[in-house]
């Protein structure tokens, strides 16, 4: 599926330009931020299972490292482009700044089609890619993490390849690792947990009771599925969920345990039969209180933004709302928590994993969750106050906060030499 018809890098630059105007950003700093610090393109020769050699193209982009080492995922996908990497690296710079973790932004990827590759091929591809970018990464330089089509096993291979090069184990080089080699407890549910904390913070600020609302979740993977379970444990009612195959709706509420079970058996939430079948578009247009897009980019567009019937949208996915749709939702008075704030839980617990890894001292899951809640709540309140003070959307406020923090760091460090 083509993920974005518009050029993602141009969209990211437009976002920066509009915030720059609003906060009166220094023109020199604006220029610095318009250019990623480093962009590396590597050719990755891999011996395939049939004996042939195939050469893949990989990228690693570091947008900015003024506030600390670069941080960002690595994705394996046929549609990966340099422009996409640049845009996502910039997005990571803002995400880390808005929640106040001491990182800059990075992103990496390999143009490949993982379902077509064997596990051995993916391992050789990963190890050779790491070897090609090895002087670029490290616990004090740039710390990769999982993204589209990459998982804890691939992170383990990254850690191992880097460690073999150094001659000793370096858990802090990558996050999202299995817990047996220094992965953090709570990492798996971190993004969903962060979204849940956002929802409870919104309820407090907007003055509604989170336990009596109807929730709709688009996407039932790591984020959507875990969120459904977490909200249900709190006593919240999830009236509809969906995945790539379609959606299910029951206004009396769905039981996430049973939905997950049906999903394990049939491969999709639509395998759950004690609910009404609906399409993805119907899901987004359901009458509800909180809508959580937790699937792909560009789900809410100018075509369907006027049909959305919710009080609140929490962007658990990256870029689920197009810029045009964002304007329509704002005009309609729908409260939107932007992706760079709403889904930062994953990046925050990645930060905890890195801190634990460089100290070789590991925390309990409760400690991880409480620290995550503190950071999410503080970031939410800061953005909310900024948005009330300047009478701007939460998205604009989040970008204002992020760009200002990075700009301040650049200003105080000065321009070398």
């Amino acid at each position: 599926m083509k993920r974005n018809s518009l050029n993602p890098w141009r969209m990211a630059l437009e976002q920066l330009d509009s915030v720059a105007g609003r906060i009166g950003l220094d023109p020199g700093i604006h220029k610095i931020l318009q250019h990623p610090k480093r962009q590396l393109i590597v050719s990755i020769p891999v011996r395939m299972d049939n004996g042939d050699t195939q050469v893949f193209t990989g990228f690693r982009v570091q947008h900015n490292v003024t506030r600390g080492p670069a941080k960002g995922g690595i994705r394996y996908h046929p549609d990966v482009t340099l422009d996409e990497m640049k845009a996502l690296a910039m997005l990571m710079t803002w995400k880390c700044a808005v929640v106040g973790i001491p990182y800059g932004g990075a992103k990496g990827g390999i143009i490949c089609d993982p379902p077509e590759l064997s596990s051995g091929e993916v391992e050789r591809l990963t190890r050779r890619y790491v070897s090609e970018i090895i002087s670029f990464i490290g616990p004090e330089k740039d710390i990769p993490a999982p993204d589209v089509n990459t998982n804890p096993q691939i992170m383990a291979w990254i850690m191992d390849t880097f460690s073999m090069d150094r001659g000793y184990s370096v858990p802090g080089v990558v996050t999202g690792k299995p817990t047996s080699i220094g992965g953090s407890l709570g990492r798996n549910t971190a993004t969903a947990r962060g979204v849940m904390y956002c929802i409870f913070n919104i309820a407090k600020k907007l003055g509604f009771d989170p336990l009596t609302q109807g929730y709709v979740i688009q996407g039932y993977g790591n984020v959507g599925g875990n969120l459904a379970h977490l909200l249900n444990q709190q006593g919240c009612k999830i009236i509809a969920v969906g995945d790539a195959e379609g959606g299910i709706y029951n206004k009396k509420g769905l039981e996430p345990d049973k939905v997950s079970e049906a999903m394990r058996e049939s491969g999709s939430v639509i395998g759950f039969t004690d609910a009404e079948r609906i399409t993805n578009q119907e899901l987004l247009a359901l009458d509800c209180d909180v809508l959580v897009p937790a699937a792909l980019e560009n789900q809410i567009t100018e075509q369907n933004a006027d049909k959305v019937k919710t009080k609140v949208i929490v962007e658990a996915a990256n870029g689920p709302t197009t810029p045009e749709a964002s304007g329509i939702l704002e005009d309609r008075g729908i409260f939107v928590v932007p992706d760079i704030l709403a889904n930062a839980g994953g990046a925050i617990v990645s930060y905890f994993e890195w801190v634990q890894g460089i100290q070789f001292y590991f925390w309990s899951e409760r400690e991880v969750n409480l620290k995550l809640r503190d950071i999410m709540t503080h970031a939410f309140e800061t953005v909310f106050n900024l948005s009330s003070e300047h009478k701007v959307s939460m998205r604009t406020a989040a970008y204002m906060l992020a760009v200002e923090k990075v700009a301040e760091a650049i200003k105080v460090r000065g321009l070398y030499p």
Partner: protein, 113 residues
């Protein structure tokens, strides 16, 4: 971070301290009549000490606040609980891991304010 401030004061100082702390932003407290002794073993100034230990009536305040308020709460109590004689009381600051409001399931700072 949340902190619990547990302090023991002379009972007659309670009203004034309560008003000052509410003014400072404290949203709740629990007060208990207690008896106890400290370094003076319950003897007051001018009293002849012997080997016995006596209990004195005191008032205990328990207040949970955000870390930001701790210094202000401590200085207010220190100022207002001060009697000029021995037995003014003590203040303890204790870390609180979490707070939960039962009705709404709010947690952390949100459960207090």
């Amino acid at each position: 971070m949340l902190k619990k401030i547990e302090c023991f004061i002379q009972p007659f100082k309670l009203e004034e301290i309560k008003d000052a702390l509410v003014e400072a932003g404290v949203e709740g407290m629990s007060v208990t009549e207690v008896k106890g002794f400290g370094r003076q073993h319950g003897f007051i100034e001018g009293e002849r000490r012997n080997r016995k230990v006596k209990f004195r009536p005191k008032t205990k305040l328990e207040i949970v606040v955000d870390e930001e308020l701790v210094e202000k709460v401590i200085s207010d109590i220190q100022k207002l609980a001060h009697t000029g004689t021995i037995g003014s009381g003590k203040i303890f600051v204790i870390p609180v891991e979490d707070a939960l409001r039962i009705r709404t399931r709010e947690t952390g700072r949100s459960a207090l304010y």
